[in-house]
Symmetry: C2
C-alpha cells in the first residue's frame, strides 16, 4: 500500500494468508446448506443458511439476528466499529441459491463443494460458489480477520442479507422501508459483479435498469378455421409479429418512440477507458456460438453491453404448438418483452412509449393489453465520490494493479432501492469471472479470486477509515 | 323439373317425403355410434359405424364390405345400376367424427342426437350431425329411395367411405392407389361443403390448397442471461418476429418472392357472380367478433376467402412462457406457418419462395430450419363440364331455384387425390350452413337442408342418367 497506507492493514492481510484453509472450510460449510429459495421443500435449509450467517457474525463481534418476513428471513447485523463517528458501511448479499438442476450435468454434487484444478489454478465447485456465497464470504472473512487481529473493525458496519434474491426479492423493499432508520449508512457495498479478469480488479460504475412487460394481442372471439376465415380474419399471431418485428431498424436501433430521448452516454473518459480494455468481441460471441452480433452496429461492443439500452423478446406464444399441423387462426398471441435501461431512462416513460409503439402498428382488427412485471431505472455510481476512490485504492492494494471501471449489462435492483430509500450509493466490487457458470451446472469460483476478494475487502475497511479520518481532520 | 325432367324422379321425391321420419331415425342410429377416430379407446365404435354403413348399403342392393387398412377400415360398395353403360359415379364421405370435448358445453349428449327448434326450423344436434354423417346420409337415403321405388339405381354407383378424415386420412391415398381400378368412375361426388343459405343451393367450383410449414430459428448455443448478453447477442425470438412480421405489406399483400406468379384468378363471369351474391362482410366479421378485415384490401371479400392465397401463423413459441418474468434470450424460437393456395400455385414453388423469404431477412447471427407438414394444390372444377351442369340442374330441381357457384376457403385433399390417381373431377354439392358449428359443441344440421340434400341427390341420379342417355344417343 502506498499513500495513506494503513499500518493496521498488513497484519490483517497476513492473518488472511495464514487462515486461508480455515476460510475455505467455513465457505464449504456454508455451501453444503442447500438454500434453494424457490422450492418450499427447502424452506428449513434456506433458513438454516441465514442462521449460519447470524452465528458467524456473532462470533466476529456483531449483534446479529434473523428477522422474519412473509418469505425467507433477513439477516441484520451491526458492528459499532471504533465508535468515533467513523464511516458507516452497509454490506448486502444473499444466502439463497439457484436450484441445481439439471443435477445430472454436474461433475460432483451441487451441495458437496469440491476444490478442483482448472486453467487458472484451483477453484471451488458448488451451487452458490460464486452466486452469492463465495462473494459474500469475501467480506465476512475480511471482518473476521480484522476482528481477530485488532479486536474491532475500523469502521461501523451493518450487514444485511436476504434469502429471496433468486426469486425476485419480494420481501426486500418493504423490509428496507420499514427498517430504513436501522439500516441507514453512508454507503453500501455489494460483491455481486465481476472483476475484469483473474488478475485485473474492477469496480462497476454502472448497472442497467429493467422494464419487463407482457403484451397480449387478441382479435377473433375464438380460434378460427384457417380455411373458412383465412384471407379476411385478422390473425393475432401475425399482428403480434408485425409489431414486434419492427422493434429494431436495420441498424439495430430501437424504434420505440422517444426511447433514446433521456439516454445519457457515459462521459468521454469512461468510454475511452472501456475501449482501452480491448474486449475480444469475437471470442465473446464465439463463447455463445454465434458469428455475428446484434444491437446498434455503430456502437462499440462494450457500450452495447453496458451503456446502451436493449429490447429483447424473452418469450412468445400463441396458437397451436404441439406436434404436427392444425389449421387454426389463433384467437390470441402473447409475448414477454423486456428492455434493459440505461441512465437516465425512466421505466414509466419507456412503458408509455412501448404502448404507443404497439398501438401505432397493430392491425385495426386486433386489440392488445400491455402490463408490467417489474421495472427499475439504471444506476450510475458517481466516479468522483470519495467512497469510490477508496474502493479503487483498496482493489489496487489487494491486486497490486489499478482497477478498471467497468459497466454491467445486468440489473441489481437492491442498488436502486438503497438509493431511493436510504439515499446512498453502492460500491460494486465484485470478484466473479464471466465463465463462472452462474445459474448453470458446475458453478465455480476461482480460489485466486476469493483470495483477492478477501484482501480487497480488508483493504477497503482500512481505506474507509483513512478517508473518515481525513474528513474529520478537514472539518 | 323442366327440360329433360326424368319421369322416374317424381315418385322417388314423393317416397322421400313419405319416408322422412324413417330417414331421420336411420340418421339418428348412425349418430349414436361414437366413431371418434382420433381416440383409440373408440376403435371398436369407429369400426361399428363403418359396418353400419355396409349393412345399410347391402339393404339397398349394393355389394358392400369393410376393407381393413393400417388404421380404420374403408367401406367400399358397388351398385351396378342399369348396367347399360350408364355413367358411373363415385361417392365419398367419412363415417368418423371429431372428438366431442368440451362435453360440458353441449346442451345435450353429443352422441344422443336430438331434434330441436331453431331460427330456421328444426335441426338435428349431435356430434357428426353435419360433419359428415348428415351430409353422407343425404345421398345414402337418395339411393335407398331410388332402389325402393324402381328396384335399381339409374346409374352405376360406387360408395367409398373412410374412417380417418378427422385424423388426416393417412390410409386413404395408399388405398386409393392400390384399388384405383376398382374405384375408377366417371366423376366423384362429395357432400362436404355448404349451400349459400338455407334456401339457396350452391355448387363449389373451387377449393383452396394448402402448404403447411414449420420454421425454427436458432442462434446462441444455449439460453442466455439478457443482462450479460443483451445488446450484442442475436435473439432468435426477435429474429423470427422480424422475418414473419414482414409476411404482408401494408396493403395485405404477401411478400414471399414469386408468391403470386402462378396465381390464376377466376374468370370475370365467376367473379361477377360472386359479387352478385352480396355477402354481408360486416355480418361475417361480426360473427367472429372483429370490426376490421385483414388480407388484400383491394380485393373483394369473397375473392379473399375463395380465390386469393393466404399466409397465417397457426402457432408460435419460444423462450420463457410461464408465469412472471425470466430475463432470458431464448436459444430458439419456432412457428407453424401455413399458406392456403389457389390455382395454379405449386406447393413446392411456394415452399422454395418462403425459404428464400426467410433467408433474405434473417439476422446473420441466426440460422433456421424449415420443413413441411403437408401440401396440396388448389382445385378448380371445370364449370363447363356436363357433369357439373347435371349437378346444377339437380340442385335447381330440389330447391326450385338456380344454384350459385361458390368457392371454398378450405381444402379437401381427397378431391385432389381423385384427380391425380383416378383422373376424375369432383362435384362438390354440399348442404351445410356456416353456423353449423362443425368441430364445436352443439354441432347441428338443419332438417330443411337434410331434406333438400336428399332430394338434390335423388335428382342428380336422374340428371346423370339423362346425360348418359344423351351421350349415348349422340354417339
Amino acid at each position: 500500500m502506498t499513500d495513506g497506507a494503513h499500518p493496521q492493514l498488513q497484519p490483517v492481510l497476513d492473518h488472511l494468508e495464514a487462515e486461508f484453509d480455515n476460510a475455505l472450510a467455513r465457505w464449504q460449510a456454508f455451501l453444503r446448506i442447500p438454500s434453494v429459495s424457490t422450492d418450499p421443500a427447502y424452506n428449513d435449509k434456506t433458513r438454516e443458511a441465514g442462521q449460519w450467517l447470524v452465528d458467524q457474525l456473532r462470533e466476529i463481534g456483531f449483534t446479529a439476528d434473523l428477522r422474519d418476513t412473509p418469505g425467507h428471513p433477513m439477516v441484520v447485523a451491526h458492528h459499532p466499529g471504533p465508535g468515533r463517528g467513523a464511516p458507516h458501511l452497509l454490506y448486502y448479499g444473499h444466502y439463497d441459491v439457484q436450484p441445481p438442476d439439471p443435477v445430472e450435468l454436474w461433475d460432483s454434487g451441487p451441495f458437496e463443494p469440491r476444490i478442483v484444478d482448472g486453467p487458472r489454478g484451483r477453484r471451488m465447485v458448488a451451487r452458490g460458489a460464486v452466486d452469492d456465497k463465495g462473494q459474500l464470504m469475501t467480506f465476512v472473512e475480511a471482518f473476521r480477520a480484522w476482528q481477530a487481529v485488532h479486536g474491532t473493525l475500523p469502521v461501523a458496519v451493518t450487514a444485511f442479507f436476504e434469502g429471496e434474491e433468486e426469486t425476485g426479492s419480494p420481501s426486500l423493499l418493504p423490509f428496507l422501508k420499514q427498517h430504513a432508520e436501522e439500516l441507514q449508512a453512508d454507503v453500501a457495498v455489494v460483491s455481486d459483479t465481476g472483476s475484469w479478469d483473474v488478475d485485473t480488479p474492477a469496480i462497476t460504475t454502472q448497472l442497467r435498469g429493467m422494464l419487463y412487460t407482457e403484451v397480449t394481442v387478441t382479435g377473433p372471439s375464438h380460434d378460427l378455421h384457417s380455411g373458412i376465415y383465412g384471407g379476411v380474419a385478422p390473425n393475432p399471431a401475425n399482428a403480434l409479429t408485425r409489431v414486434l418485428g419492427d422493434l429494431h431498424d436495420a441498424n439495430g436501433r430501437i424504434q420505440v418512440p422517444g426511447f433514446y430521448d433521456a439516454v445519457v452516454d457515459p462521459d468521454g473518459e469512461t468510454r475511452a477507458q472501456w475501449r482501452a480494455l480491448g474486449l475480444d468481441a469475437e471470442g465473446f460471441l464465439g463463447g455463445i456460438g454465434v458469428a455475428a452480433s446484434s444491437g446498434e452496429q455503430d456502437r462499440p461492443f462494450l457500450e452495447r453491453l453496458w451503456s446502451r439500452p436493449t429490447a429483447d423478446i424473452n418469450g412468445i406464444w400463441g396458437g397451436y404448438t404441439g406436434a404436427g399441423s392444425k389449421t387454426v387462426i389463433p384467437a390470441q398471441a402473447s409475448a414477454k418483452v423486456s428492455f434493459r435501461l440505461v441512465p437516465d431512462q425512466d421505466p414509466d416513460a419507456v412503458l408509455a412509449g412501448f404502448r404507443t409503439f404497439i398501438a401505432e402498428r397493430l392491425h385495426p382488427g386486433c386489440s392488445f393489453e400491455l402490463h408490467t412485471h417489474n421495472g427499475s431505472p439504471a444506476i450510475r455510481v458517481p466516479t468522483d465520490s470519495p467512497y469510490l476512490q477508496a474502493a479503487r485504492q483498496a482493489l489496487a492494494d489487494a491486486y497490486g494493479t489499478q482497477p478498471v471501471n467497468i459497466g454491467c449489462g445486468g440489473s441489481i435492483p437492491v442498488v436502486g432501492e438503497f438509493k431511493s430509500v436510504l439515499g446512498i450509493d453502492t460500491l460494486l466490487m465484485g470478484f466473479g469471472l464471466e465463465d463462472d457458470r452462474m445459474h448453470s451446472p458446475n458453478e465455480k469460483f476461482e480460489l485466486a479470486c476469493f483470495d483477492n476478494g478477501m484482501k480487497a475487502h480488508a483493504a477497503l475497511l482500512a481505506r474507509m477509515q483513512a478517508m473518515g479520518a481525513r474528513r474529520d481532520a478537514a472539518e
